[in-house]
Symmetry: C2
């Protein structure tokens, strides 16, 4: 039984774009002018049709199985209407948003189930295994790597398992600073339940408002304050997992030498190995004080060296982010001032959360490091960033409507390879898109830092061609190949999904893939869980 559950109605993510439709806004004139004059964006493109007008794949699930599944979760929690199906069809990548705009037949689940318990999920997985029905575990629906659109061929049907009802705060161990939480809690719901009791997880990715704890774990999410609180996979101490082969309960202790750490197989498994039904997560007291500062560094290389200096020798800020010259010039770290940035150089956001004394101590020591590196404070930039930190996805929707192709991609490598990776990815994108006749604007920031390396987060904008899906696929393929050639990882925190799947053999080797397949075969013998996601097909013939 849950100690507590959210009392307010769960906010619904826009079916065709990001977040709360009421918060969408037109891009600043300066940006529209830049699109026209700088990128040659001329034709506004039609927005998505209405949700009722969407063409979805026909329902294939036979009525008997449908009824049996509905009986497990309760009829009120099994839906196959157009809206439920459409809302569980795709994630929020630009490819997904373009598909909705294109109006072509969208592959949608035939049935959306909202189970209330681990036991119900076990039953659903047993039945679906018997009937060869593919199952998509569904958290917030914010995947940007095609993680929610499984391969349906070879299966009798596809059903979505929406975990929204599994949203309890199940236990709070104040002594050990651990909370046991349901996987369907949205970021703000979990934080609210914990804040009432004085705690926070400290995990604030850009998708925070609409993504779930289960999704954070399944996709190895990393939050904007990861320098201080850690990545989500570092915060998960225990997992309860429902699989077609039974239950896994992992994490008897914070750390152990009892063999391989099987938690690390479930983290990052993206719904292909099991359904996370409970998470035990580290929590800390709500910080007494939160301060975010902006600092201007002379250039990207100096900025990178300064971030490295801070994370390797301390003091380590809670938030540490560095925009390159292009991103700084456009003001992307301050969406409220987009297109109005002045001053040149590279903007770093440096944040501190903790007790008043801890914040003061780290802030002072870090200021010494920043000043010594030639940085100068930028008034208001930290506050701007904090205020608008979750707004960037809204801007993408508006820019897509304006005829621009806009998407992000991210990677990570060791410090000694960071500049090479940055150059290689930028060059590959520029060459590919310019070759297609749409010279791009490429912005980048260092989004997460570690003692051994850091991640790079690219934002790309250019004019849409007639087939923007093919246009982006070509650019993405070039970027992915460049990432692997330059020694990066294909993804730092977006996950693999379908969009990064074909690079996974280069990432972990064919033998690594064989290990993943063996684990999947053990936990999911029929292969019903999110088929086609994460693990490449054996033939290697699947298209990118």
């Amino acid at each position: 039984m849950a100690i507590s559950q959210p009392s307010e109605v769960r906010p619904e993510l826009s079916w065709s774009g990001w977040g709360d439709p009421g918060q969408a806004s037109a891009p600043p004139d300066a940006i529209l002018e830049l699109l026209r004059s700088g990128l040659g964006v001329t034709r506004a493109t039609p927005g998505p049709v209405s949700i009722s007008g969407l063409e979805l794949t026909p329902i294939r699930l036979d009525p008997a199985t449908s009824e049996a599944l509905a009986a497990i979760v309760g009829e009120a929690n099994a839906r196959s209407d157009q809206e439920a199906r459409a809302r569980h069809a795709l994630g929020k990548s630009t490819l997904d948003l373009l598909a909705l705009r294109a109006g072509a037949a969208i592959g949608a689940p035939d049935l959306v189930l909202a189970p209330a318990s681990h036991a119900q999920i076990i039953q659903v997985l047993e039945l679906c295994s018997r009937q060869r029905v593919a199952v998509v575990p569904f958290g917030g629906g914010t995947s940007v790597v095609g993680g929610l659109a499984p391969q349906s061929e070879g299966f009798a049907s596809v059903v979505a398992l929406d975990l929204r009802r599994m949203n309890g705060l199940l236990e709070l161990d104040r002594e050990s600073r651990l909370a046991v939480l349901g996987p369907g809690l949205l970021g703000p719901q979990a934080e609210a339940l914990l804040a009432e009791r004085g705690y926070t997880i400290g995990h604030f990715p850009q998708s925070f408002e609409y993504a779930t704890l289960g999704g954070f774990a399944a996709a190895r999410s990393s939050g904007q304050a990861s320098a201080g609180y850690g990545r989500f996979d570092e915060l998960v101490v225990g997992l309860k997992v429902a699989t077609p082969a039974g239950s896994l309960i992992l994490g008897r202790a914070p750390k152990s030498a009892a063999g391989p750490d099987l938690r690390q197989l479930i983290l990052g498994s993206e719904g292909t190995l099991g359904v996370i039904t409970e998470l035990t997560v580290r929590v800390v007291p709500v910080p007494e004080r939160r301060v975010y500062e902006g600092w201007r560094l002379p250039d990207f290389d100096h900025g990178v060296a300064t971030l490295r200096r801070l994370v390797q020798d301390g003091p380590v800020p809670t938030v540490l982010r560095l925009s390159d010259e292009a991103e700084t010039a456009l003001g992307l770290a301050r969406p409220g001032e987009l297109g109005q940035s002045e001053g040149g150089g590279c903007l770093a956001i440096v944040g501190y959360e903790g007790t008043a004394q801890d914040v003061a101590t780290r802030r002072e020591a870090a200021a010494d490091v920043l000043n010594a590196a030639g940085a100068s404070p930028v008034d208001g930039a930290g506050e701007d960033w904090a205020r608008d930190r979750y707004r960037a996805p809204y801007l993408r929707d508006a820019l897509l409507d304006a005829g621009a192709l806009v998407e992000t991609l991210e990677t990570v490598t060791f410090w000694s390879s960071l500049r090479g990776l940055y150059d290689a990815v930028g060059a590959a994108l520029r060459e590919q898109l310019t070759g297609q006749g749409t010279p791009p604007l490429i912005l980048c920031h260092v989004s997460h830092v570690y003692p051994a390396g850091a991640s790079l987060y690219f934002t790309i904008a250019c004019a849409q061609l007639a087939d923007p899906i093919a246009q982006w696929r070509a650019a993405k393929a070039a970027a992915g190949d460049a990432i692997m050639a330059a020694g990066g990882s294909i993804t730092h925190h977006h996950g693999v999904g379908r969009d990064h799947r074909e690079w996974l053999p280069a990432e972990v080797g064919e033998l690594g893939i064989a290990v993943l397949r063996a684990v999947k075969q053990t936990l999911d013998p029929v292969g019903i869980l999110n088929p086609g996601i994460l693990i490449p097909a054996k033939s290697g013939a699947a298209a990118r």
Copy 2:
């Protein structure tokens, strides 16, 4: 090619006890008196016979295979003489030492190979898979959980793969603070190679002087300074692994969202999934200053609360260890003063390593916390601990000779369960050994701390019965069952080996075991790698 390799001759671990035989010493009189009067130890037991007098299992390996294996590594690096076989037969658990004393036939490898490269190991594994020859990857030989004595039934032979020649510093990336190192480097060898260049790994387990980097990784070692530097599994960023199915090269970045973290399958695999042939490990600059202090806390509960306070809210010392009342009274944290402790309460060792400023800052802040908790400084205790930190295993040898049964065991749990676990393990050991007629002395310390929990390290001493092996097995079984019942993990840093294997299903569930078996089947289809270690037999019928 290596940048550098150790120039001095590698020190040889005593074949029948710990470390350098020249450093062995008799226990203090106070301890001998305690054994006699307190524990009823009366009969001194015979020490081990000579190495040439040991009875080893007969060699089964056919000459043709033996020659083919020798040809891969070079004849000079393939030995089947009595000494080589005996030195690779067992680890350093009390059960191992008692077996050597009992003089019964010792299961020993038929051949000891010392390969020089990943490629040679791949060849050895291919040949051994074809010939059904079991292979024991061998680092320093310091296992205390039976990790070096595989099941030989069902195999044509057993060979040991001694990794001592793979001892290079292969790369040093100063910018990323990473070193690529050979698995056969002893702790001090690796530290010396790095110290010449200004770096340290900071991993100092009690076995440091004689254990290898490959072993640290394969068994998820944790060092005495883990609070500051991290556990070894947290320091490993990259792994190159030779398996019968081919090579695995893992770790393209410090952290990644590219699926499950397969490094975490190799870490803790104890030679059953592959042979680690290269490690990429985080390094930091050699600390400018090292300070170790002793603090006396009023009692164990106050001590535990204070450690928790430090690791959860900071400042986090580099070393943090707390003896319980019994261990404090006996002076086990200060082996040089064994049996002479005064003052009562519980002794904490609190150490700091870093820049002079960092040490001063943390030390001052931690002193405030300790003083507020009612702790008082104990002059010299920190220095004593640091000087004698690797000496405890020598003492065990001497006490075994004196007729005592002495062994250690360890576990880990969350803070809220720590006191219950402590009580349960102590009670189980006391009941079991007292029931056998040998009331024990049970000492304990908190050896490693995390924000969510801590480890407990028990030292047990009692009089030896006529069959001390059966005596300890019964006590160990009682302790293991108590650990699982009280919610602990069966091992915090010793690993699983054979001795903890039968508790692994309780640790990760039968489905977790099935996952491990599937991974092993993929990487080691014939099952030649360390058979019987880590993963319990399918029947579940294997004796403890």
